[in-house]
Amino acid sequence: MTATALPPRPVTEHAAQLAAWLQEHATELAPWRHRATQGIAAAVEHDRGLLASLHDAGWSRYGWPAETGGLGGPVALRAVLYDELAAADLEVPEAFVILETLGPLLAHLAPHLAAVHLPRFLRGDELWGQGFSEPEAGSDLAHLRTRAVSDGTGFRVTGQKVWTTLGQFASFAAVLARTGAADSAHRGLTMLWVDLAAPGVTVRPIAAASGRDEFAEMFFDDVPVPAEGVIGEVGGGWAAAMYLLQYERGMYAWQRQAVLHRRLRQLAALVGDDAPSGTDVAALGRAQLLCAGLRARSATTVARLSDGENPGPEISVDKVLLGRCEQAVTDAWRRLRGTDMLLGADDSAITGREEWFYSRASTIFGGAADIQRDILADRVLDLPRGAR
């Protein structure tokens, strides 16, 4: 289904072109209307087909710079892709979450790495992992312990990372490591691009409560990283992480609202008008209202990102709204499909339960909702700071 990529157009026109293409190819794309349910490895493999199609037709390359294998145009064109995929009743591949976390980081701070790896990722040939959290450094990320010691030409990395999404399938990882003194907090960190095939690396999936093992832990034992593996500057790891967060929070929230709006449409169609109770119906309406607010808010954030503006601490509003939406949508499903939640054994019920668990984690990963509230209290509402 390879098509000639069209030159980038204004955002709304681009969206219409993409929607038309998705409709035209609906039959070939039908396998991606549901995610593969035979385990997460099958799902990752399955998604590669969709990634390859979107790459070959050019759609996933818009919004990325030409130097890194993209077709240029504003960042908003990436947002259009995620939105139109969900609107065309397709599953948005999880790889796009990782792409939006690490892609902007590489393109902005390590174009030499982006030139090599971004095209591979977009083709579906390579996945990356995010190595930030550690067993002893979650919300308190600045006190991470993984060390990177200079070996004359590059670095040697030793330590442990955890909660790496799809880490067991990743070829490379962006690892935040301490290059400064042990007490250097956020000042002594460096972001490194680590080859997960290098000697000394062990990656293990974590058995998840949801039954879907989407996280892994990574162990590094004196792992070599060449000098060109530094993303940004030595000692500039915190700045790199803060740069990445605007996309991890902003564009991720946009992706998820696209998915959640699709879930609402699916749920409404599945339940139909079979007279459920008023409170259960209200739970659906509540989820619709919350998702509407998120979409409106997130659209302005995407526009700001697209204009090259960093929304700063206000992006935490999007993150808090998103957590509420994730939970409201899955709670509406739980209420309206209570039998599925409790007893269901088919793919739809299993996916529904997995998503319910995922929604509970959405107020924890990528910066806990409570931390987002502290950021907003300190830096947006200008409240007096207190003990954490």
Partner: protein, 303 residues
């Protein structure tokens, strides 16, 4: 038009801060500014400031249906008394402030009109005496006329402007609470430094942000049920959340007549109840979705 929006919002801010609400009303009632006040962005911005200062005047009627007219709203909880506009139906409705010369009844078939001398009016004190609600009754049949608002849909537009006002109420209550928790000390520190207080206010602020974003993203041309069930419900829920958070963190002060918070509490509850309360709207929205109309879905578009 955007420079006019800022200009008018600044004027409203200046006059309402000084308690000169009648002067604002008079300025906006000037026939020379008719086009300006009919602009939904201008009207929305003015209503938001109006909400923030928690005042009441004839502004709502002026902006929704124009000078010399009042819009008749359904009485919450009295579905049977809804002004249907059908011949022979007995009218019971609410207007904000005293009825003007002509009353406009929004019906599903478009607006209907009644002269003031065809209605019996009774001022209502109730929950929010400063809101100045008047109960109107009539046994006359309203007549067909022409719509005067830019949208041509009175009820949807009324809901939209109530949403703007409710966002203002949310902001006003939040501002009071933020000021209080910065100043009020307990245990030797400002209470705004306690995480429980901070998080409560942040949650309320996030609600207000969601409602504000929706109003900015969905225009007055969206369907009337989107205006009422999405924009107004979202703003109503945000206002209720903000006044509840403010009531908690302001402690005893919030329960004195001297402290302005009770005005915001009354206003949020009263405005939320008009044209379908936010809780009822949730159920209504869900029911519509189950019948195949999922609102507002993707009405907000990227630009």
């Amino acid at each position: 038009m955007s420079e006019h929006v800022d200009e008018l919002a600044a004027l409203a801010e200046e006059l309402l801060a000084a308690g000169r609400d009648q002067e604002l009303l008079a300025q906006l009632a000037d026939p020379d500014v008719e086009d300006l006040r009919a602009d939904p962005q201008v009207a929305g911005a003015v209503m938001r400031v109006h909400g923030r200062y928690c005042v009441s005047s004839g502004l709502f009627d002026l902006l929704v249906v124009g000078a010399g007219r009042s819009v008749v709203l359904p009485v919450p909880g009295q579905e049977s008394g809804r002004p249907s506009g059908a011949a022979g139906s007995r009218l019971v409705g609410l207007v904000r402030g005293g009825p003007q010369d002509e009353l406009v009844l929004p019906t599903e078939d478009g607006p209907r009109f009644l002269p003031r001398d065809h209605v019996v009016s009774e001022a209502v004190s109730g929950l929010d005496p400063l809101l100045g609600l008047t109960l109107v009754r009539s046994d006359y049949d309203p007549v067909v006329g022409t719509a005067t608002t830019a949208t041509g849909d009175v009820l949807g537009y009324a809901a939209r402007l109530l949403a703007d006002e409710l966002v203002g109420v949310a902001e006003g209550a939040l501002a009071l609470a933020l000021e209080h928790v910065r100043e009020r000390h307990q245990f030797g520190v400002p209470i705004g430094s306690f995480q429980a207080v901070r998080h409560r206010l942040v949650d309320a602020y996030v609600d207000a942000e969601g409602a504000r974003s929706l109003l900015a993203a969905i225009g007055p041309d969206a369907a009337p049920d989107v205006q009422a069930l999405v924009l107004k419900a979202s703003a109503g829920a945000a206002a209720l959340r903000c006044v509840a958070a403010a009531q908690q963190v302001c402690g005893g002060m919030g329960f004195t007549a001297e402290f302005d918070l009770h005005r915001y509490v009354r206003r949020a509850l009263a405005l939320d109840a008009l044209l379908s309360g936010s809780e009822a709207a949730e159920e209504h929205l869900g029911a519509l979705a189950l019948r195949g109309r999922v609102l507002p879905d993707r009405q907000v578009v990227l630009t």
